[in-house]
Amino acid sequence: MRTKSYSYWLFLAPVLIALALVVVVPMLLGVYYSFTSWNGIVTGDFVGFENYINVFKDERFMDALWFTVKFSVVSVIMINVIGLSLALLVTSHVKSSKLLRTVFFMPNLIGGLILGFIWQFIFIKVFAAIGEIIGMESLQGWLSTTNTGFWGLTILMSWQMAGYIMVIYIAYLEGMPKELLEASAIDGATSVQRFRFVVFPLVAPAFTVSMFLTLSNTFKLYDQNLSLTGGGPYNSTEMVAMEIFQTAFTQNVFAYAQAKAVIFFVIVALVALIQVYINKRREVEM
């Protein structure tokens, strides 16, 4: 097939047009609008970096960004630790391996919105009921404080995503040459040593993939945030994606919201590029 041929363009046209109109044009328009006083109808004046300067003075946005960073770091660690543990568990000669995989993976198929609602019930009603039975004050009033909202979100995300990350680790663990493990066992390595010196280096690429997926999923989180805490109390558990939505569609300051959206893109893209760079460097070393 040649790029000059008629069929080349015919095959490519549908996806190219869709990508252009849905992603490329809105992205370029968005960057342009972020430098204006656009209100959704009228483009307005060119205001230079005014919107951007205001974003960095915007306490609500900076709080949301900081909350998002804290939430992402804690969640990424929890999800990966739990996910890897589950993967090691189900690949360790257990008879119920298939059943366990099915169960641990299940939450990933259900939408974040629905999962958030289920956990809202658990944190508010069930935690309170358990607290009453065993006499633990700290189980009352979950999601009504910033702290319990934070941990509520991390618990929900760990429960949901650990099974997903487990599946990725399993793929690498099962691709590992069995002889290596057996040889090290015969040589007298303990299970801790086997993990540290044999398994760990071999699943290193899985870490890169899992870190990237968990980081990008937690950093861009919206649905679970909306249905579990709704950003409350007093917007203190609001994450960046939700803050941008509120600025745009509740406060209706479009150009300003768009400046936040561009900053959000830059952060996400930078993190992803750093990730790819580290990944490539490691591949070269190996």
Binding site: F11, H93, A248, Q258, F264
Partner: protein, 271 residues
């Protein structure tokens, strides 16, 4: 060499599995309780397996219509994504040129863009052209879904020898025939992966449909969930029944396509 059955791990695993299912258990048992019973006994089984909540939730959700809307949007979008992405990736993989690599990297780069970054202009532009409807939504899904799908198809196509294309062309087949009769059937494994990843995403998507088709009679399942979670009133008993109804189709899908789903998700992440 066969190693011993690991009893300790088996027990830990089963305990964890039970723990993992507790949220679903709680949702399920409370879906049968009355409003009052939820307050007095939250953890125990219901006194009566009463279906009233389900009847009311079913009506409030307009369940059959909502289910149909979700199915219609998901199936149509996924079919078109598979069709167009496979075609697009075929063109990109068979015509090696500057154009092709620029387009390929454009698709890959688009994966980096978070939805929120294009959301506001997207909705205003489509709104101006009266495209905030089901057709507009499906078109948007093609645009957002194309990147990953093209990427996966492109990888698979590079593993299929071009000599096949050439042989078929010599035998008199045109591009269209070569693609549909020879190449596309060979792509079946990756088609399953592409379809599954897109089904899971589109079926559960909330934000995009909330901006595009949030009008009476057009709602998909996630949009309807807000009915039970109003600003001031929470009807837990109805909510639990509604959430259970919403999850049932997914569980059925998982039951029948479990192996393909786990393989698809894992392949999609690693490749």
């Amino acid at each position: 060499m066969k190693r011993k059955w690991n009893v300790k791990m088996e027990i830990i695993g089963l305990v964890l599995a039970v723990l993992w299912l507790v949220p679903f258990y709680l949702m399920f048992v409370n879906s049968f309780k009355t409003k009052r019973e939820i307050f007095t006994s939250t953890i125990a089984l219901p006194g009566l397996w009463n279906l009233e909540n389900y009847i009311e939730a079913y009506e409030e959700l307009d369940f059959l219509r909502t289910l149909f809307n979700s199915l219609f949007i998901t199936i149509t979008s996924v079919l078109l994504i598979v069709l167009f992405s496979a075609m697009g990736a075929y063109a990109l993989s068979r015509a090696k040129s500057k154009f092709s690599s620029v387009f390929f990297y454009l698709f890959v780069a688009a994966m980096l863009i978070p939805f929120q970054s294009v959301m506001i202009p997207l909705v205003t532009v489509f709104g101006r052209f009266e495209m905030l409807n089901q057709a507009g939504l499906i078109f948007m899904y093609i645009g957002f879904g194309a990147s990953l799908s093209i990427f996966l198809y492109h990888g698979a196509l590079n593993n299929i020898s071009r000599s096949l294309d050439e042989a078929a062309t010599i035998d008199g087949a045109n591009r269209w025939q070569v693609f549909w009769h020879i190449i596309f059937p060979m792509l079946k494994p990756i088609t399953v992966t592409v379809a599954i990843l897109n089904i899971i995403w589109i079926w559960n998507d909330y934000l995009l449909p909330s901006l595009v088709i949030n009008q009476p009679g057009k709602e998909t399942i996630p949009l309807k969930m807000f009915f039970f979670f109003g600003e001031y009133t929470k009807q837990w008993h109805l909510a639990m029944a509604g959430l259970t109804l919403a999850i049932v189709p997914v569980i059925i899908f998982y039951f029948f396509a479990q192996r393909a789903i786990i393989k698809g998700v894992s392949d999609g992440a690693i490749k």
